[in-house]
Structures are given as structure tokens and as C-alpha cells.
């Protein structure tokens, strides 16, 4: 990976929804380094609030949140901004929920903890369809 490639990419705005603060923050920093403007939401309610005020190119959604069910949030996202691709992140063993999410219009899903490069690749795919 090199910086020039990242710069060629237009600045993508991504909403990262994950209630594990440490993880979300470091992921956001690393993604920012790769030219993506990341907004972190630590809960479902916060994510919905942020999406109301702003528009994002894509969302990365952890399906296991403390306040809301991931699939419910996905449905709300799809209602608020049907064009925005959503990449789901799930724990091992919750493939059923992920598969359900695909039926509700999610772009794809990744197993947690996910490799950053793979995540970046998915985001690029989602935004340049």
C-alpha cells in the first residue's frame, strides 16, 4: 500500500458503528491515514443521529451493539439512505444474523476481528460500484 494510491482515491466519508471504543478509534485513525474520513458512532442511537445530520458514502456496522440490534439499525439505515452501502461486521458464530442482513440490503459482511486491508477493499468496492 502507498500514500499516492490513497490520495488518488477521492476522500470517502465512512460511518463506523462499533461500541468497542478502543477498537473503533484505532481503526478510524488507520482508515484516516488511508484517506478515508471516518466518523465513529459508539452506539446505534448515536449512529442514527449522525446519519440524520450528514451524508456518508458507506457505513461499517458492527451487528452486536449494546443498545440496539444490528439488524434493526441496518433497516433504519436503509430507510434513511437507501443508496448508502452497509458493510456488516459480525462475531464468529453469528453468520445467521449476517445472512439475514444481506437479505435486508447490506453490501457484504466480514468476520470480526477483520483485517484492515480486506475492510478497505470492501469499502472501495462498495463505493465504486
Amino acid at each position: 500500500m502507498n500514500a499516492t494510491a490513497d490520495e488518488r482515491m477521492e476522500k470517502l466519508k465512512v460511518l463506523l458503528v462499533d461500541d468497542e471504543k478502543g477498537y473503533a478509534e484505532v481503526l478510524a485513525k488507520r482508515m484516516a491515514l488511508r484517506g478515508i474520513a471516518v466518523s465513529v458512532a459508539l452506539s446505534g442511537t448515536e449512529a442514527i443521529r449522525m446519519l440524520r445530520g450528514e451524508q456518508f458514502d458507506a457505513a461499517v456496522l458492527d451487528l452486536k451493539l449494546e443498545d440496539m440490534d444490528g439488524i434493526e439499525i441496518l433497516k433504519i439505515f436503509k430507510k434513511m439512505d437507501p443508496a448508502m452501502p452497509v458493510i456488516m461486521v459480525t462475531g464468529h458464530g453469528s453468520e445467521t444474523a449476517a445472512r439475514q442482513g444481506m437479505e435486508f440490503g447490506a453490501f457484504d459482511y466480514l468476520m470480526k476481528p477483520c483485517n484492515l486491508n480486506v475492510l478497505m477493499e470492501k469499502i472501495r468496492q462498495a463505493c465504486h460500484r
Binding site: E20, Y23, V26, K29, R30, L33, H92, G93, K112, P113
Partner: protein
Amino acid sequence: MENAQYYRSLSRNLVSIVIVVSFTPLLLIAALIGYSFETSYKGKSIAYLKETVKRNQQNIDVFLSEKLDYLKVLSRSYTFEELTDEKFLARKLAILQDAYGGVFVDLGVVNSQGIQVAYAGMFKLERADYSKAEWFKTAMKRTHFISDVFLGLRRSPHFIVSIKHNWRGEDYILRATVDFVQFNSLVENVRIGETGHAFIMNRAGEFQTKVGPETEANREFYMALLQKNGLKWEDGGLDAVSGVPSFTYSYWDSPYKEIILTGEGRRGGDDFVYIMTPLKSGEWVLVFQQDKSDAFRDLRRARFLALAILLLGGASIAVTAILVSRKMVSRIEMSDREKEMMNEQVIETGKLASVGELAAGIAHEINNPVAIMVEEAGWIEDLLRDETQMEASKLEEVKRALTQINTQGERCKEITHKLLSFARRTDPRVVEVNINEVLEEILSISEQRSKFSNVKLEKNLDPDLPHIMASPSELQQVFLNLINNSLDAIGTGGGTITVTSRLADDRLVVDVADTGTGMPKAILARIFEPFFTTKPVGKGTGLGLAICYGIIKKMGGDITVNSAVGVGTTMHVYLPVPKGAVP
């Protein structure tokens, strides 16, 4: 063995309940029917005997009164002079003997002084003096008289029939001697069955007919009876006081016709029945006696038959009760055991499930910190990318350390994934399964343990196998169990476990072969039995293979086993392939 005792007492209770319930009515009915049958049969038998005795009583009375009648006719028809003419008397005797065949032995006329003034017969009894004779004294008091049997002057048993008649103011007696043999045959002919016979006694208990020694021995018994009942008969029996004819030769007018005594006696171990009726106005009694066993022969036979049926029926009831109870109890025992086994199975599954849940929880919790660590390491890597100040060798070392963190993070991830997939194994949902994936997973879980036991795990998996419909967690349980058993069989000495998957005859076969100790036939026959284990107490539940067997059977498959002592064991698991899935 508290359980065995419980089932034994259960069986005993069942047997006794069945026996009591079925025997009580049986015995009651048998007793009731037996009693009423016996009573009515005895009543009928006695009634028949009574009838016979009555008939004979009548015969004998008629016989006696007949003899009396002839004398009466003679005395009324002829004068004293005519009767005392011995030639005339002999002629009359000849006529009587001709008509009645020797019943009349002789004829005689005795005057009031007791001197026989005329005699016709075979004995030389002319001018015989009867004034002292007991019969003469009695005869003079009555209009007619029949004596007891006695020896008399001729010294042979006979009895006298006499009529008192008055001729010109003076009484005389016309008498005849009746042949004892003829009279006796009258009574002797009364025979019923083998032991039923009749005899005559006078009121003093002297036999008036010939009797056998056995009857002779019963004399005392009948004497006592006569004394007890004799008073009744005395009243009208003699006419000595009243002077009216004592002997009514019409039986039907007799006041005694209803006097029939029946009863039972016992002598020398033989029970007998007797029937007694008065003769000769109660001076004599006609006795009929028969052994009970003879008289009630049919009753005895019926009783014996009933007893045999009762015994046979009872025996069959008892046998049936025992067999049925045993069968029932063994069924109950079996179902109890099954229930117990199910309970154990449920507990076992529950334990596995809770362990699984715990593991899943831990794995999940570890996932996040590991992910953060890996990402932070990645962040450091990102930051170091543009680092120029740091010494090159140091930079390399830091990068190596970061790679190591990444690698170890990956390892953690793998471990948690394995744990999580194991945790899901209690899920019985049937989905499409690639058997090779299940086997790979199990092999990787078992790797650590096999390394410890110095066992080589070999796999020989056919990549072109069709998918099957099964619950992955159940399949995991089965194969994990089989591999664990193989590891146990090999022990710590080292060996090889080979897992093969293949397709044979439209069925999917998984072979788990080990080079362990193998099993002898006796053990081989029982390995799928629940609670059968060769492991020491506390080490094995004896449920592993039984559960495996249950799971595979439920899926429509089968498990078979080949084993040779010292060579090893191979388990074959056959799994059904959905129709159309076979390539």
C-alpha cells in the same frame, strides 16, 4: 442392589394381587356350587334310599300280614274240632306249602294251657308244652302275634305267627312257623351298590335276619339309636294294655309310616349312612346301611373332578400370574432404565451446552481486546512507515515485533473461532453439511491431545463427496467421541488414527481406524449398550457410544465395528445421502 429388590417386591406384589383377585371368586364359586351340589345330591341319594327302604318295609309288612291272614282265615273257617284233627291240619299245611313254597314250616293248635293239642309238620312237637314260652304268654294277650326270631324247641332260627280265637268260651291259639330262610331272603335281597344292605333288629337289639360280622359289630351303635328313639315307638306298639289290634297290616294306615330315621355313623374309619324304619308296629326295625363312599360314589367322583379342575386352573392362574408379572416388571425395569439413560443424556447434553456457552462467552470477550491489540500494532506499523530518525536495525527489530504481534493475534483469533464453533455443537438443527469440513474441524480440535499422546492423525478424505443433511453439532459430537475413544485405546504408547471418508453403495462412510489395543468379542458385543464401559469407575459414563449410536440411528445411518485384539479397532459410520445428491 436396592433396585433389584424393588423390582422383586413389585413382581411379588403383582403376583399376589393377581392370584388373590382371581382365586377369591374362583374359590367362592367352587365352595358355593360344591356345597349346594353336595347338599342336593346327598338329599336326592338319601331320598332314593328312603324310598327303597319304604318299599321294602311295605313288602315285609305285607309278607307278615299275609301269613297272619291265612291263619285268620283258617281259624274263622273251621271249627276247633276240625283244626285239632291232625290229618286235616296236615292237609291244610300241604295246601299252604304248595301255594307258598315252604314258607310255612308247620302248623299247630295250642290250647289255653299252653299244650299243643294238634301239630302238622316235620318236627315231632305233638303235645309240646308252651306254657312257659315267652311267645305263648304274649300271644295269649293279643288277638294276633308275630314273634321274634328264636331257636325254640327245635334249636333252629324261626319265628311264630299266631292267631288267638275263641271257641265256646275258651281261647286257643292257631300258630304257624315261618321259615327263616325264606323270610331272610326277603331282606337280603335289598341290596344297593356294593355295600348297601338291609337287616332287621328287634327292640332289644337282636338281629332278626342274618348279618355279616361287620354289621354285627355295629350293634351297639344301633342299640344306642334305638334307646334314644325307642320311646316314641312304644306308645302304640303293643296292644297289651289297650287290647286293640296292635299290628295294622295296612302299611298306609300305619301311624309309623313317616317315622324314618336317617343319619350317618362311623365305625373303624368307614363312614356309613343308615336309614331306619319301624316294622311290625315298631317291634322290629328295618335298617338299611351303606358306606358313604359307596352311596355317594358319583359325588366323590364329581368332587375329585372339581378339585382337579380347581388345582389345574389354580396352577395355570399362578403360572400365568408369575409369567405376566415378570414380563411386566421387566418391561417396567427396562423403561425405567431407558428413562434413567435419557436423564443422563439430558444432563450430559446440558453440561456440554453450558460449557459451550461459557467458552463462547470467553471467546467473544477475548476477541475484542485481541482485535484492538492487532489494530494498535497495525497503527504503530502505519506510523513507523515514514520514520527516518530511527536506527535501521532497531526499526527492523520493532517491525519484527509488530509482525509477531500480528501473527499471535491471528493465532488467538483462530483459537477463539475453534472454541466458538465447538460451542455450537449442541445445536440439533439439520442443515446441509459437507462431512469433510466437519472431520477437518474435529481433527484440528483433537490435534493437541493426539500430539500429547504421541499419536499421528492421518486423513484420507474423498473431496468429491455429496453434501448430507445433518446437524453439524451432532456429527461433531459423534466423531469427536470416536476419535477420543481411539486415543484412549492407543494410550500413551503412540500409534496412528486414520480418518477416511468415502462413498459406498449410495451411502457416505466415515472410517475411524486406530492401532490401539483392540477389543475381544465379549466386549465388542456390548459397546453400544448404555452404561457399558471398560474404563475405571468415574472415568467413563458408558454413554459415549450409546449416544453416538442413537444420533446416527436417528439420522437413518448405522455404526458398525471391526476389532482385533492387539491390532486395533475400526469404526464404520454409515450416513444416508439425500436422493439425487449422489453424483
